[in-house]
Every structure is written in structure tokens, then in C-alpha cells.
Symmetry: C2
Subunit: 208 residues, 2 copies
């Protein structure tokens, strides 16, 4: 079984890359499906699970560090429950023993024992703003300033959620196998090459 994980900066096209890569390879694909499964297991709505898992993890961090940031206990315990379920769901995916691509959710760390190909996708700010502006619907007319603010907030949460469970800094190439900078690149066109690279990567692993 081969697992590819895709971590990414918001607006870098990382999710698109993951989704198209899975389609190109004919592998299973997991992204929002994970949220749906967590929501089902915890008996909450998908939106709520998504919101809670996307929040900054200071609540859980507070517990980890034995400090109190005055976050209502009920929220703390719900978030921790969701996080635990997230770990279970991701491990269950791996246990299915099928080639797959998983986007986000620190799957690279949680599935370390399976030696996945861990890809990080980044881009320069201009490319990310452009991509976000293109994909945000007509009803969602955010200014560049607002987009940038959202982008930073989301990336900060991703960074926090990684660095809470790992010493490997978010986005640091040493923590991944491949970092793709999508600045000035049409992700769709790059997919066949990434697919070939990915297959080659699994064949290039040292036996040792």
C-alpha cells in the first residue's frame, strides 16, 4: 500500500493537487470525507466538526501545557474528542490497506509508520491571493486585505495544530519528502508529472 499525504498553505492549490493526483493515479482520496466520518462518530454536524477542528488549538494546547486560557470546558472537551476521533479515522483509512491520497489533518505525522510520500505545497503570496480570488464565489466578495487576513489565520491554525504534536516545523522541507512551489504554475497541467514522480519515489526508497 502506498499513501501520499498533502499538506499545504491556504491558497496554494494543495487540495486541488491532492484531489487531481488521486484521480490521475486512480487511488482513493480523503479530505472532507474525514470530517464527515468524525462528525458521524461524534454525533455532531459536519459544519460543527469542521469549525471546531479548524480552530486554533490553544484549548488543547492549554491542557497539554497545564495552563488555563479560560476556554469553556465543554468546548475544550469537544475539541479534544474530535481530535481523538480524527486520529482514529485517519488510522482506519490506512488500515484499509489501499493506495490513497490524504489532504491535510496532519496525516503525514499520524501515519508516519506507513512511510507515506509527504508533499507540502506552497506558493508566493501573490499567487495565493490570485487563486483565492478566483475560487471565491460571486456572493463572497472579499477584499485582498480580507483574503490575506483569512489566509494568515488559517495557516496559523495549521501551523499550530502541527507543531502541537511534532517538533518538525510546519512547511520546513526537512519534515516532508517533496515541497512543490505552485507560484506561476497551473496545477492541473502539473498533475501527470507529479503522479510519475510519486510512483518513482515509492520505487526509489532505500531497502535499508
Amino acid at each position: 500500500m502506498r499513501i501520499i499525504t498533502v499538506s499545504r498553505e491556504f491558497g496554494s492549490g494543495g487540495r486541488e493537487l491532492g484531489k487531481r493526483l488521486a484521480a490521475e493515479l486512480g487511488w482513493d482520496y480523503y479530505d472532507r470525507e474525514i470530517i464527515a466520518e468524525i462528525a458521524r462518530k461524534c454525533s455532531v454536524s459536519e459544519d460543527y466538526a469542521h469549525y471546531m477542528l479548524g480552530q486554533t488549538f490553544s484549548s488543547s494546547a492549554a491542557i497539554t501545557m497545564g495552563q488555563s486560557f479560560h476556554i469553556p470546558e465543554v468546548l475544550q472537551s469537544t475539541q479534544i474528542k474530535l481530535l481523538r476521533e480524527q486520529t482514529n479515522v485517519i488510522k482506519e483509512i490506512a488500515a484499509r490497506d489501499r493506495d490513497c491520497v490524504i489532504v491535510g489533518r496532519n496525516a503525514d505525522l499520524l501515519l508516519k509508520d506507513y512511510c507515506p510520500l509527504n508533499i507540502f505545497v506552497c506558493a508566493d503570496t501573490a499567487s495565493k491571493i490570485k487563486r483565492c480570488a478566483e475560487r471565491s464565489g460571486k456572493d463572497e466578495n472579499l477584499s485582498e486585505k480580507e483574503l490575506l487576513k483569512n489566509m494568515k489565520a488559517i495557516d496559523k491554525n495549521r501551523k499550530n495544530s502541527r507543531e502541537m504534536i511534532s517538533d518538525s516545523p510546519w512547511g520546513d522541507p526537512k519534515g516532508y519528502n517533496l515541497v512543490i512551489n505552485t507560484s506561476g504554475i497551473e496545477v492541473k497541467k502539473l498533475i501527470p508529472s507529479v503522479a510519475v514522480f510519486a510512483k518513482g519515489w515509492f520505487d526509489s526508497k532505500d531497502n535499508g
Copy 2:
């Protein structure tokens, strides 16, 4: 014309990757050839040119910053002359208008206008030590501690020489298009995939 530049950490297999990649693609390859050309143009020996260009650039930096670090003037001026010639030689290579792979020498920065595919190759310390130990000849029996010391010194020079002429930190993914972590990878086996990726990358560039 397509140009691939390869920057790398010492011991990461970056040079091997660049050389094999050029062979796989059937493109021109430049590495030590650049030193030979600089040496010829400056009427010094290749070894001397290599040594002087590999040294920390504090002398040139001192001049840039208008400070004196008490480096003999004759050495300063020689090094600057070699650095200038290096820029010329690399620009002449690009002017040949042939697909090529260039390893090291900050070619990614010097040839920015040609929009090369800029690859950075890194690896974890254990992999780099292993690779260095394997390739160092029988007559050169360095301890792991000595290898590590050399590795750090060479990387520090590479970092300095880049950061003297650019704001983009050495090894930061944002400054390259692709970062390949060769930890646990047999570089030779990965080459066909990198070649496909590289060709695909040039085809995926935005027209804008």
C-alpha cells in the same frame, strides 16, 4: 530553452541528481566546467579558483557593507574578480540558448530572467553523513565528527554566498520551485521521475 538549476546541501546527493538528470534529459550539464572556465579567464589554477570561490564571502561582504574585517586586499580583489567572472560565465552559458542543468553557483539567482526550474536538494543529517562516508575515498578516512564539521562549514559558505546577493534564504522553499528531500532515497532510481516532473513543470507554467 529550458534551464534547470540545482542547489543543494552538502551530502544530499544534489550534484549526483543534477548530473544524472542532465544525462537522462540529454541536456548540457555544468558544474565543475564553470570553475574551469573561470580559472582560464582569470589565469589562475582550477584548484585555486575552486578554493577561493568556496571560501566564506566575508571579504566581499565586508566591501559590500563598507566594513573592514582585515582581510588582505589582494585576496579580496582576487575573490571579487573570480565572483564577477563566475557571473559572466553563467550568463554566457545561458546565452548559448541550449537546454541545460547547472549545479550550484547561485545560478538560480543569476539566471532569474530565464525563469529556470530551480530545485533545492536536502536530506536529514544521518542520510548526508552516510552518503559522504560512502563517497569519500579509502585514503580519506574522516570520522563522523569531522564529516559533520566539513558539511556544516561548506553549507555555511553556500548560505552566505546566496544571502549576500539575495533576500531569499538558502534552502527556503519559497525561493525555489521544488525541494526534494533525498533522505532514505536512492537518487539514481528517482531520476526518471524527476526528469518527467521537470519537463511537465516547464509545460505547466502560466502563460501570464
